[in-house]
Amino acid sequence: MNPGFSILALIVLMGAVGAMTLRNLVHCALSLAVTFAGLAGLYLALGAEFVGLAQVLVYIGAVAILIVFAILLTRPLDTAQARPFSATWVAGLAVALIVFGVLSMAIHRSGVGADRVALSGGVTVREIGDLLMTWYVVPLEVVGLLLTVALIGAVIIALREEAPRAEDAAGDGPGKGIGKEKEPGHREP
């Protein structure tokens, strides 16, 4: 076993376990970022340069930040006595163990890749760009549309307020002053 692979695998697994078990939610998110970084390292080690860097840019630069923001926006009220795991955690863990057992058994039994060796030489960015503009152009457009829809949808869902606020209906007159900015009735409990 290659030492580089072992170290990266250890980083990935420790980050994943931390993300799933830590009590402090922000620690979970940071632990998740460690996992993403380890995975990016694995992609780079496998010669998928573009994917590894895109992984860092998208997952650490965007998804982890998004999760952190969501955690801070939804501070749970009962932090002190809350148990992080649900009441049926034993069943859940058992199912997960069974899933892993079945998967690893399948990997061992099938013997896939036992005789395979890693190809040398990766794929250049130019090749990826050419493929995206020719063979994969329809998926590319669909993904662009999906991202646009997701962006607009996320904004609409997150912006929607439960009760219409008085000031929105009344408009933004100049004379209303500072007082309206702090409506006691609208404060989150």
């Binding site: 695998a9 994943a16 799933m20 992984q55 997960a96 690893s104 869902i157 307020e161």
Partner: protein, 102 residues
Amino acid sequence: MTTLQSYLLLSALLFAIGFAGAVTRRNAIIVLVGIELMLNAANLNFIAFWRYGAGDAAGGVMFVIFSIAVAAAEAAVGLALIIAVYRHFKTVNLDRIHSMKG
């Protein structure tokens, strides 16, 4: 020399950890984190199979690029939904969110 099987085993373990977290944690955001881990396990499989020769020149890489884009969209919409749920129920504890209507 790292074999394909070790990558597949790592990916399976990552998937199982993500799955265990997604079904046992009570906080909706951490459930989403678990789903992200499972998605990443799948991505690792794609790259590993691509690297260890699956015929197509760049198929695995292209698949992962699209998968990352879709996962970004999923995370954005998922977290927006969680925030909307939080605004309604004042909690993201999945054990407390029972009712669908109202």
